[in-house]
Symmetry: C2
Subunit: 382 residues, 2 copies
């Protein structure tokens, strides 16, 4: 080998093997994964067209349909984190000029606005203060005003901890032929969700919250009605990596190569979904609800209050008001450094006003709550 250029060693760090602190992750995600799920990642990869892998993809599809309560054939895991799955719904559903109405009552509603704009949507918004939700009357009025092609709502707003009720929304959409797009990043697996019964056409989620898996492979689904719109597009999907016309052929019967899947993450996702199916959806939802109520009681006994009205609080993520005079960032830093517990701070309108406490998937356990409450008792000003 001729090699006339000399190698620059300036970036060649001499490192010791990986050492990572062991944290209890009670922020907005990622959460800790079940040990069996982590162990599955330590399995040698096979090829993305290996019959053993294709069989595993089928299992993932079936189990995702179960956890989402849908029969959509096009139900897959996208090879990226939740944001990639969010972008997949927009990229495939939106054609330039489509009116997209977005409910914005938090950070992730705003992200949808930014994203849809990049795909040429004529974006309209309906807004609420962060932490509140839309009622059917408000949605109906907005639908009448904007007559959108797509209505996008955030079922579980990770920035506020509010649960947007979805029952009845599809009936309103039907009047205008509007597709219903739903963010279920912080609800899937932990919060009751019935995609088909509620008439949701497009949904996305992530792996590292209610499913208790590490991040990187993200649930995506679209209804036959949404697929029909996709097939009738006049323009190519403006995103190659997330184009469902191509991806559908890899996940479907054709098995046409599209891209190399993140094999080991799919191992993990399959294990996480298997454990969830073993527990059962109803049991998982009840577990999340029970543990979060235990958390709320404990926080209240410490004199803390929640930001969201109880009826609309998520069982997976709670926003806790930071008491006046308390340095929220300092408390979170102390929990991390002294107790190895991660909680989140507020975003956007809620920055500096709340902490975000997640109890999701494997971490929705009484022990997690006890550990957090004990630490808070130590670090909160008396």
């Amino acid at each position: 080998m001729t090699q006339t250029i000399s190698i620059n060693d300036s970036g060649r760090l001499q490192l010791t093997p990986l050492e990572i602190p062991s944290r209890l992750l009670l922020g907005p995600g990622p959460s800790n994964a079940h040990p069996a799920v982590l162990q599955a990642m330590n399995t040698s990869p096979v090829g993305h067209l290996d019959p053993a892998f294709l069989a595993l993809m089928d299992e993932i599809q079936s189990l995702l349909r179960y956890v989402w309560q849908t029969e959509n054939p096009l139900t897959i895991a996208v090879s990226g984190t939740g944001t990639a799955a969010m972008e997949a719904t927009i990229a495939n559903a939106v054609e330039p000029g489509d009116v997209v109405l977005i409910g914005v009552a938090g950070y992730f509603g705003n992200r949808l606005v930014d994203m849809a704009g990049r795909y040429g949507a004529d974006v309209r918004t309906i807004t609420k203060p962060w932490g509140q939700v839309f009622n059917l009357d408000e949605l109906q009025t907005a639908l009448k005003t904007h007559r959108p092609t797509i209505l996008a709502l955030v079922h579980a707003e990770t920035s506020t901890g509010a649960r947007q009720p979805l029952e009845g929304v599809a009936d309103l959409c039907d009047e205008f032929g509007t597709l219903l797009l739903v963010d279920s990043v912080t609800s899937l697996g932990g919060v009751p969700l019935f995609l088909d019964a509620w008439g949701v056409d497009l949904a996305y989620s992530c792996s590292q919250k209610g499913l208790g898996c590490p991040p990187g492979a993200s649930p995506f689904t679209m209804s036959p009605r949404a697929v029909e719109k996709l097939q009738q597009r006049q323009t190519k999907v403006a995103n190659w990596y997330l184009d469902m016309l191509l991806l559908g052929k890899y996940w479907g019967a054709e098995r046409t190569y599209h891209h190399t899947a993140p094999i080991n993450l799919y191992y993990a996702l399959r294990e996480a979904l298997r454990l969830l199916a073993e527990e059962g959806l109803a049991n998982s939802w009840q577990r999340h609800q029970k543990n979060v109520e235990y958390l709320w009681e404990g926080l209240e006994s410490l004199g803390l209050s929640m930001h969201v009205e109880q009826e609309y609080r998520l069982p997976t993520l709670t926003t806790v008001c930071i008491p006046t005079g308390v340095d929220g960032k300092a408390i979170a830093r102390q929990l991390l450094n002294e107790y190895n517990i991660e909680i989140g701070g507020g975003l956007g309108e809620l920055a500096g006003l709340v902490w975000r406490v997640g109890l999701m998937g494997f971490n929705s356990r009484k022990e997690s709550v006890d550990q957090l409450l004990a630490a808070l008792r130590q670090v909160l000003p008396k």
Copy 2:
């Protein structure tokens, strides 16, 4: 919890824990990962803003600069597989109407054409039969004809096994102010590559080939000159997930939240890069070259010939001509089912004509070659 809809259990598969066959992956990728790299994935995730994780991101950046031989500040891992990193170069470099000249001599050149078109590029191509490469005269003529904003070349064409020489190309580009974009998916870590010395402005790769890591976190880099073009864009990057103006703030000093990184894949990538730095780039390149020459000799002794002229053959991926009368698919299937060895078939123009044999990263070892040759001796018609 009120719940009036009953749960549909039709997708609720009852599965046993994951069992995956142990394969020797000698196809076009993924390759097997080093056991220490796999083990790193079995580490509980921390948060994507955890100080321990931010330090690990810095290590990844430094080590990526080393393996690419670049000092580009914007050198990161994208949260997706190689195709996502490919799309990141296009999405960030191309503005609608930009003339993009693409060298097409294989499947991945064509993929760049499709992708650049989706971002509004005025795409021009220069073509060669699959397995050949472009010389400087041909590139100069094409540059003069098209005067492109961007010239995209595939350094290592995974579909053909050909290595496109890059020395001298940047000098030609300079005349027209053309940015040089390079696909190094199948070269990074295994094939000599000097981004800065060769004047490359944008490059992408993957984790599961020369780096010996599972797929899912993919190297991306852009030169200060390419960043300048990005900063002067008149339109938003038409891809939120891959927008380097946003991602640069997460990987840079600001640490602004963008999306949840695939934490455990970054653990693995850090370990893979650490091992590569320990071995040293020159040693890794020499190892790949030595083992592939041993493979070529062995294949020739079995009466097989290579598709690409020796001077331009990649040390990481070899296309082997399927002898007349031999059923290439049946041989590959037999290797997989009876010997647990994966090799690849041909794509596009080379479908049915070649096998693709990869010796990449951890798998570039004499033992891998011996194992394959012994199996081929059994399954090839006498």
